[in-house]
Symmetry: C2
Subunit: 336 residues, 2 copies
Amino acid sequence: MGPGTPARRATIEDVAARAGVSRAAVSKVLRDAYGVSDSMRERVTAAMAELNYRPSIAARAMRGRTYTIGIELPDLANQFFTRIVRGATSALEGTPYQIILAPAETGSRLGYRALEALVDRQVDGLIAVSPRVDEDALERIAASVPLVMFGRLDTSDRYDVVAGDDLGGARLALQHLFDLGHTRIAHLTLPREDPDAPYPHSGRLREYLAAMAARGLEPEVWGTQDGADAAYRTTREAIDRGTRATAVFAAHDELAFGAMRALSDTGADLSVIGYDDVAMASHPGIGLTSVDQPGERMGARAVEMLLERIAGRSTAVREVFEASLKPRASTRPPRD
Amino acid sequence: MGPGTPARRATIEDVAARAGVSRAAVSKVLRDAYGVSDSMRERVTAAMAELNYRPSIAARAMRGRTYTIGIELPDLANQFFTRIVRGATSALEGTPYQIILAPAETGSRLGYRALEALVDRQVDGLIAVSPRVDEDALERIAASVPLVMFGRLDTSDRYDVVAGDDLGGARLALQHLFDLGHTRIAHLTLPREDPDAPYPHSGRLREYLAAMAARGLEPEVWGTQDGADAAYRTTREAIDRGTRATAVFAAHDELAFGAMRALSDTGADLSVIGYDDVAMASHPGIGLTSVDQPGERMGARAVEMLLERIAGRSTAVREVFEASLKPRASTRPPRD
DNA sequence: GTGAAAGCGCTAACAG
DNA sequence: CTGTTAGCGCTTTCAC
């Protein structure tokens, strides 16, 4: 690689010329296809190394694979999603596949643009993390690329699903609060959440409403925007409004962190429970009781499903992962 | 879009046929190129909409642009990096460019594979967030794609640089500790960090050593792995070893969080200061004093630099962002 | 076991 | 202002 080396990347043509074989031959070596003599493989491999050859993903894409798995993520600030990515990454180690992430922009049809961008880039498999996208759009996407829906509670025979047991998890959370003696429990969740929609938060809300109703208790839903800041403001407003709640069940840990901040600022003494058990929840300064979801295992499983689809499976698979309670200092018996 | 619609994506050919024009004409409309009549533009646009046409990124890549900006990230668990992404995303709003993220796998040559993956995918611009990659590799990459190095302290005329003022930031941190009366200050940083290397942590270490030396104080460097868990273990070991330090300056907030956990578990009373001021640092349960870096502005600026390069700039640019101290409860005068 | 050739969807230079 | 055409780098039959 002397100073005179052209900046241009080596192509399969260059490799073929160098090795004294045809382009097709090089392609076969590349794809480990049938019908290559050892001596040829050797020469070609040497030529590739000498030229620092790397196949063009774009050119490959025009014929088939890109060896790329795309993950659409709703919110990088939520550490639960990075657990998923970690699991997915480790499951892909040793394969020729590469993960790329597309963060969803905020706004309506959350995640649709990011999903589209990934499809446009012809990923070989797509993991969509609970996008607020209608089922038709997902079916359409699934028609052109293997798709794993993350956290989606509905079922389709076109795409696979990896989900947490949101109903069971919410039940654990509420049971924990009931056991401590709470009866006036608020639920902090995303705005205008529909308990019958197929989203994780919908399931948690549904179970919350059911559990409260089953005990003849009055539900109190605090609708907020996503993110700790919005949760902070919403919680403050509830306190300023003079809420009688003694505990708040946050739909995920980010929201719980915001709520805790508001409690600290106002001196209000409510118990808080979150969902996902992100790393910070167990920090001694925080001590947030949370419902754990095995994000790493879920991410790894999603990747496996994709690989199976790529390998030919055509039936839909759906796997639900159990949740478990991590009790900590943020939940305690009510004061009064 | 009836049930008989083929799953195949519409191509430029289909659009041309539908609109009764040539492929070239469609391409021109697509690229907003010179020489299209209003009536033609209208017909073509209508045809694209009817067919739900989306250009193939792969095919475009073979001729030039992919309208993709790639960001290589070392660690998703570190919330500072998500600040960068947030800034980059917002700066790209309204442009046809899409961001994709490639998380670096852990291991040696951290980030090199992710960078390569992005180059292979022919991104139009590349932001590399402090990869531990030698300068030659970066120069080589920069020869084929506009590159912004994030946090890199060296300079190249091939790529642009966005960096924080690590020396100034470290100086703020140490001055703060000195002002409080600390003299035995440990520095918690990555393993075998070389104070003369061009990485952000190297600069912080260099300034730490200089500041201690300037006051005739003995430096105490705690080398750890990246991540809060490793920082926890390292801090515990230092405490068990009976360190006489009264304060620890962590090279970033993640490490500081781990250190705080260890202090809490052992009951040791050391002051802790971090770097980056991620969101959790200001949480009342944490109250971590930290050196703030304007991650969002830095990310946005990096994207602008890339866009300028794409538009034709060929001179190198280097911009350094000031750091500022955020004093909180985690730093206080030494006990003895 | 190996090579020739077609074509994937698009852009850009050129001719009309 | 519009259409024709030549590739971009690769995979994949299909002959040899």
